[in-house]
Amino acid sequence: MALLQISEPGKSTMPHQHRRVVGIDLGTTNSLVASVISGSPTILKQIDGSNLLPSVVHYSKDKILVGKDAKNHLGKDAENTISSVKRLIGKTINDVNKDHFPLNLADGDGVINIKTSMGIKNPIEVSAEILKTLKIVAENKLCGELMGSVVTVPAYFDDAQRQATKDACTLAGLNVLRLINEPTAAAVAYGLDKKPRGCFVVFDLGGGTFDVSILNLSKGLFEVLATHGDANLGGDDFDQAIVNFLNDKYKLNITDIEIQSIVSILAREIKESLSIKKEVEVLKKISGIEIKETFTQEQFKILVKGLINQTLKATKSALHDAKLNNEQIDGVIMVGGSTRMPCIQEAVKNLFKQELHNDLNPDEVVALGAATQANILAGNGQEDLLLLDVTPLSLGIETIGSIVERIIPRNTTLPVAMAQEFTTYKDGQTAMIIHVVQGERELVDDCRSLAKFTLKKIPPMVAGAAKIKVTFHVDTDGLLSVSAEETTTNARATIEVKPSYGLSEDKIKAMLQSSYDLAEEDKASRALAETKVEANQLIELTQKALDTDKDLLSESELTSIKNDLSELIDSLKSSNNDKIKEATKKLNLQSESFAAKRMDRSIQKALTGKSINKLEF
């Protein structure tokens, strides 16, 4: 959905001069929005003046609260106060430990249903509430509607979690220019300041997720070599270690949502105090039980030793995948609020035997990097910077015996397309189930199931004669699409699917309809205006392209494009939305090979400085 841009009165109305874009860090504990203002990435402050919006949503019968106001309900009305929703997004009920959430969770046909006073909500809707709040803040600060946003996700998020995050953005009315990985965004924030070269580790321990990425930084290029992590490991788990300790020692009722919610808050306070103090004393009464305890950093370190080791193990795996050892690392960047814990800093320092980069606020660095990237994508900045990221997890399909056949290995640079041929198991088999999975294990049951679809109308042949080519494509958002076709016969059976989770496109559309209470004619005029903006941009860009590169076209190609161009210009004189859309589509299609040729020319120019021989794909 393209958004309309409104220029300041008296200023140029050219649509490409400066685009209003933001970077959003949708965090487990806190969320932030940032934008490049006067050349530097800046956090946009919330209404209360703080940089962070607590990622908490409270539902009462007729009111939704987000952020600090919602957080105040955590101890009082835990069931209706949703925090750490990022740990639920893109998951099914079987993926989560219900005991860790003081909420009423149930299976909701692919998504997790959360029962609240306002009715059933799912993690996508809850996340959308947080995003909507950020959007409003940004639009107020930037004085106008947003054209687009770059939203960050943990590098180790699987396809389902990425798609669900993107759905939440759509639901919140945000146009997503790109999903980018949090550690990569952090590296952007650091890299621009210092312009280093070499191999860097980004160690990102947030509230609920852990990522470690190894990047090669060279002039203007951020190349991710490997990424590893745990989408289920973060500050929350360190809290939980204290919670478990207290539950055990003081025999607290672990089934009482209210008590557990109070213990959780207490545990977090203890953890945070221990990041600045050597020891902390606790004296508190929880439902009649007196808690009296002195925690030291050393004690805490023992409680969370297993968690620390998990992060180190993932870091070593990432190094191994990047074919590097710890001595070849030029710098270590610490990101995420949980890296404030002294025990984490010590462990990472010991592993790499060097000082850590933590001079940027670990809570803010991801949003700042995302804002920079948004600015670059929008064409606002002059920065010469490109991110090349990778797939965090291998992608494959199920074969006989529930064995996974990998099609795209982990740590492959995006965008990527890979294909593999499969064949039939039985004589005369005419259909085949294609079960797409993600993960590193050999058996299907140990991997994440992404989608199942059936390829039908395979011509009957003897077993093993049919050739079914399955192609996986992962785009620059890290999102997968799959297609399959039978290639031995002319009668091709093809299927193309995008795995979708929980919410269908129709359902999102329906939700959008209900959230925008626009009158029918408003909708129509808005749609027309959007179409016109798009058409005008296309006209302008096509004319520019023709000015510089029309020599790449044959006489007839040039005529066709010119015809479609004038058809589009004519169509704009009408106010017929469909007609303009149709003409836009036609010109776009007509220009595809022209676009390809222009890209080949730019490659040639970049490689040789001048055009010698023609390159063809």
Partner: protein, 163 residues
Amino acid sequence: MTQNYFELFNLPEKFQINLEKLQENYRTIQKEIHPDRFAMATESEKIQSMIKSTQINDAYQALKSPIKRAKYILSLHKSLKKIPLPPDFLMQQMEWEEHLDTISENKNELNKFKFIINKEYEQYSLLLETQIDINQDWDEAAITIDKLHFVEKLLNKINISLN
């Protein structure tokens, strides 16, 4: 993509290539055509940049790895027939595998073994260079590729044991 990968990266069609040049040209091309460069472009440009960027990644992977590069060169000469490995190499394979089993806990021995296998890897790479770049003996090269492939996998196993 019908274009030759070597031409694409402006490199001579050889097994022995300048890997730094390959990387440099790969980066130069991605900087030109990556979809992030076309986030505000027309629909047709977005599609083309996605296609091309994907193809460039594919071509880069094919040339970066020695084994994939050798296979690619052979495929250009339409000589990808399966030739069985000679019996003496099969024997050697078994000996190596058994040796790795017996020393898998011994770091010292593993490092020694890694040194030996690394040497084998280098030798087969050099042999491949002669077979492809000088003799253009595709059949012999095909056998060496299989051997190199085995040695590479063995090296991986040794590294896993070492970690």
